[in-house]
């Protein structure tokens, strides 16, 4: 059964957003070992929305959840400026300490932690879809 909740787009909501998704994931049988990677992907996605999609405060993020018995699908909807995180440049992972920059690492980690990540623009919304399986 689909479930949704709307959060203010700010860093301080990350813990409660993670808890909302985590409770649903646990109910639906997502194994505990998939929990921390999911939390990480959610944090990175919310940080990106707060930093890039919304230039002004008072934005919102709607979280929509669905589980089909094996896969949890999390959609994050925001009404910010069009921002496709999957189109950003991959970080240089081989750089030295002096040269190392941190940009792009969040998106990179989402891709590493999730089984599938998709982006689409729907009307005035950015929609980021995170998919994680019970059995990867």
């Amino acid at each position: 059964m689909p479930l949704s909740r709307t959060f203010e787009a700010k860093i301080a909501v990350i813990d409660s957003l993670i808890e909302f998704v985590g409770d649903f994931a646990t109910e639906q049988g997502l194994p505990p070992k998939r929990s921390l990677p999911l939390q990480l992907a959610l944090e990175e996605a919310v940080v990106n929305i707060c930093n890039y999609a919304y230039s002004a405060p008072n934005g919102e993020i709607e979280v929509k959840l669905e589980h089909d018995g094996n896969r949890l699908t999390v959609e994050l909807w925001d009404e910010g400026i069009p921002f496709d995180p999957l189109a950003t440049e991959a970080p240089d992972l081989s750089a030295s300490l002096e040269e190392r920059e941190i940009g792009g690492l969040g998106i990179f980690l989402i891709g590493k932690m999730m089984d599938e990540v998709r982006y689409r623009r729907e009307g005035k919304n950015n929609v980021l879809t995170l998919i994680v399986s019970n059995n990867p």
Binding site: L36, S94, I102, G106
Partner: protein, 108 residues
């Protein structure tokens, strides 16, 4: 996220426990500031979770320490924390040891 530090031979060992994330990383940076010129070892055996915000904090601490004549190394990484550090390539520029003893030996 909590930290506690003690001197061990030539090194300062700081245990970092809990979650190093977008909310707690500022506090972590502040906790490290006083050790900028030391040989600092972060014991991450009690760290459950780290995000890119936490990596950003550790990168910033490492750069400040290098400029101040100190050095930073890590030990005790496991699970998600170990995975995040290695896939992000942080093991390319930060020494990572299995445990505190080996990290201290690296600073002797």
């Amino acid at each position: 996220m909590q930290t506690s530090a003690h001197q061990q031979n030539a090194s300062v060992v700081m245990a970092v426990t809990g979650r190093l994330d977008a909310v707690t990383t500022t506090e972590f940076d502040q906790d490290c500031a006083q050790y900028s010129s030391e040989k600092l070892i972060l014991d991450l055996s009690g760290l459950e979770y780290v995000s890119s915000a936490g990596l950003r904090g550790i990168l910033s601490v490492a750069k400040k320490m290098k400029a101040a004549g100190g050095s930073l190394s890590l030990c005790g990484l496991s699970g998600l924390v170990l995975e995040v550090f290695t896939v992000s390539g942080f093991d390319n520029f930060l020494p990572i040891f299995e445990d505190i003893e080996k990290a201290c030996a690296g600073n002797a």
